[in-house]
Symmetry: C2
Subunit: 240 residues, 2 copies
Amino acid sequence: MANDLDRFPHPHLTVDVVLLTLRDGVLHTVLVRRDQAPYAGRWVLPGGFVHLKDTLDAAAARVLETKVGLRQVFVEQLYTFGTLDRDPRARVVSVGYYALVHERLLAAVVAPGLVNARVVVPWAGERGGKVALHGPDGARLSIGFDHETIVGMAVQRLRGKIDYAPVGFELLPRDFTLADLQRVHEAVLDRRFNKDSFRRRLLASGQLRATGRREIDVGHRPAELYRFSRERTSGAQRGN
Amino acid sequence: MANDLDRFPHPHLTVDVVLLTLRDGVLHTVLVRRDQAPYAGRWVLPGGFVHLKDTLDAAAARVLETKVGLRQVFVEQLYTFGTLDRDPRARVVSVGYYALVHERLLAAVVAPGLVNARVVVPWAGERGGKVALHGPDGARLSIGFDHETIVGMAVQRLRGKIDYAPVGFELLPRDFTLADLQRVHEAVLDRRFNKDSFRRRLLASGQLRATGRREIDVGHRPAELYRFSRERTSGAQRGN
């Protein structure tokens, strides 16, 4: 695609995807170990360069599919990161995305060479900034680029959004109990809710549909199963 | 900055800034008439290419300063637009910003060759999508690129944000009456509020500080003047 503009040096463009899931009631995000410089051996977000024929959403979907092995999950643009020194090779601007997936789906398809890192938010209510990412052995992982900042922004976005947008459902299987949904909200917001008022509020929101069925194979009285009652929202519909 | 990456063709990167103000209780945005192809003669958002040594925030600030003549206004990253055909010259991805300014400040500094276009949102509560932009004579303006979509996204962001973030103050002078603030919220959200409950809610939010002074030179009983009581928020502090 030769044109006058190509005479000018211009920044490179990547996408990086924060894929969040809940495991044991704690937010986790998928990281890939880099096998080349810069930051060889460190853990980074799944990402890739934006090709000339890729929309940004398509680039994010390609990254999820080729590096994690997932498709058709909730994914939405987050923020674009453009500090001057974020990549030692060249000026690289990265469009951050975040994706949400239920733990069992991730466990079923996750590609080899990945880690599902525990996201430790240093303090409740933090707005943006870095988080700490810990591996399965509990040790803090060494992260490349500014990817801790990107994860921090994704957690902030999810926290800001969960109370007004139907986004918590994306972290659950299709059918879930009200207790499951409450655990998602508590994990994301790092606070406890009163069971009765949480249920009243969510049932009044019109976002839930009772399936008429109950849990099976549980050691307690089976709870009613619900399903999200509107079309799934998607960043791909938002004008990009 | 020669490096291996530069061997690969990669998208160009611009910033485009939606500068919103209120005039006569209606949202307006500043447009520039393009004097070269593509879209010569059409109206577009103030924008420019991201230089290798510019952060994205710096590029947005430079655009506001050089194309509009404004500095130190509220400006925050909005969304990054990357459809394949948005620029006929080449693949150009644009990082959208929105800025907010009080009408009197804009009127004092606005550069020649600009228009302050009235933003017509086709229906209340619309999420994203295009708006219509009208010139001072009331006629609809012919807009270049996907800039109506970017303005639509900025209006959507402002609507989503005004109820939980102290952003409405940016459209007012430093000292304002509660009636001024109510007019801002009504104009942005395109709905009417009850005067008493609006005042109660805003006063309870802790965002307002009474100045102890009243309006001067008004034809009615002078109302008390308030000032925003926390530090101004800025997109520049959010990790980019």
